[in-house]
Amino acid sequence: MIELLPAFLMFGLFAIDIPIALAIAIGALSFFIMADGLPLRMFVQKFVQATDSFPLLAVPFFVCAGSIMNHAGITRRLLNLADALVGHMMGGIAQANVVLATLMGGLSASANADAAMQAKMLGPEMVRRGYSAGFAAAITACASVITPIIPPGIGLIIYGYLADVSVGRLFIGGVIPGLLLCASLMVAVHLVSRRRGYKPLRAQRASLPELGRATVQATGALSIVAFILFGIREGVFTPTEAGAMTVVYATLVGALWHRELKWEAAPKIILETVLATSAIMIIICAASAFGFYMSWQRIPVRAAEALVHLTRQPWLLLLLINLGLIVVGMLIEGTAALILLTPILVPAVTRLGIDPLHFGLVMVVNLTLGGITPPVGTMMFTTCSILRVKIETFVREGWPFMVAMFAVLALISVFPPLVTWLPTRLMGP
């Protein structure tokens, strides 16, 4: 029981209103104080470790790009186009948010980078147009779950490596689940918007000339999407590097094309980026020190080992694993959990005849959803930090979306063909 003390301490500190990053860090530090054979100052190494992660660099890049787009009038043009396209639907911008995350899924491998960019770009605009900030934060974080499920995705690559499953198959296997997540969120947005009275922004569909005008005005903005798409598809840069290049490109579009980006905006853009990035990353840094404590004590590993011995029924095991992963996903970051648990769970499920390709998508979707479940969820922290929303508000506003997405998780758990049919169709058995 003493092994769980740091976890209890962390929860206690959450309740007394200490900043989340510090509550997690203090919990982790308490472990380093108690641990045998571990010098106390190693805490510093584990606290800093996450800043050494190259894919996480996408966070400042996309926050910065989002901020530049706001100051350069690029976001406004893009949203005018979105209005023309989906403005007649219930909760128009929220729908656009979901669709954008799905499209970004084809480019970006990281949910967090997507959450950061969309929160920065679309969030304030949604608030200005009458949505509550909590709603905006919740839908943005939930939509970002789709991004790494639509290929490419970091989680699928890691799983493929650890479970010895073809990454290409996993990527293709993610397409249908990704689209299902998108569809479920759009339905949820529709229902919530109708109840809330988030009215359509326009009475009927935009006329063709209107749509044409909006498209022409948004050409600069669309060229940014084309720039990222071209750069990654043609292999000019990696998905993380794309972030840095987008910052430069968006600056050029804002300053030279639209001529709306002025020098005076530079300090503001830098400050916004610094504050949002550090607020997000300091929590991820603390969570990674806390994750080290969990790994060192083998807590998730022991729990998983106990779990797989409970039953020999494939469907029951899958249900238990899903429930267990939801609990794990609440507490630790998805990638860390994936690395810890894949080697334990995969042999257990394959023994019972579950296809490791199918299980991979179940596991990656489940742990990615962990990023939006309290109390520890990186995409939740990202959108809450950027939009200044409390966690309670996030949960209150976000639960219908979470329910919708967990329903999709249940669906793909129960019907393996939703995952395996497309890869088999395209790549053979």
Binding site: A25, A136, E272
Partner: protein, 172 residues
């Protein structure tokens, strides 16, 4: 008094300056890594390492700036439901704990930075102290910012906790 304050005024923006510079370094280094893959004879192999060092400074010094702007998030399920005196007591205890943590972090990061002097980075062979000293500067600045705010609360000048100072949805 006023003159002294003016002379110290630039110090009020030291975190923003350092973290902002670090952000530019991260962006520049990463872009340079991409560009040199195409235009120079040899790609710049140091770019990822420099970006990583800049990232640490951006995060830890930026977090100190975040204290000033109230950009850190908290969960206050319990505190807001408590009666006044108990709430004040709990907040002061929380302040004390945070200050103790930051002071500990400062000491540990100084020790660790000194120890890391003999541990070189992979490409540029710089002491890894260049990364870890960002925690020294960051925790020192955070300590100062939190101590000032805690002092104001102790004196009863401000009832509000530091986090979430701005209204929801407000842009900075």
């Amino acid at each position: 008094m006023a003159a002294a304050r003016n002379r110290l005024a630039p110090l009020d923006y030291v975190e923003e300056a350092i973290a902002g510079a670090a952000l530019l370094v991260v962006i520049f280094a990463t872009c340079w890594g991409v560009v040199t893959r195409y235009i120079t004879e040899q790609p710049a192999t140091w770019s990822g390492e420099v970006a990583g060092i800049g990232f640490a400074w951006l995060v830890f010094v930026g977090a100190a700036a975040g204290v000033k702007y109230g950009s850190h998030i908290a969960i206050d399920m319990l505190v807001v439901r408590l009666p006044g005196p108990l709430r004040r007591g709990l907040m002061l205890a929380a302040d004390a704990l945070v200050l103790a943590f930051l002071a500990t972090l400062l000491v540990l990061s100084v020790q660790f930075s000194i120890d890391a002097w003999g541990d070189p980075t992979s490409v540029l062979r710089l002491p890894r102290t260049v990364t870890y000293s960002s925690v020294v500067v960051g925790s020192l600045c955070m300590l100062v910012r939190f101590a000032r705010a805690a002092w104001r609360r102790w004196r009863g000048h401000s009832a509000a906790w530091l986090t979430m100072a701005a209204p929801a949805g407000a842009e900075l």
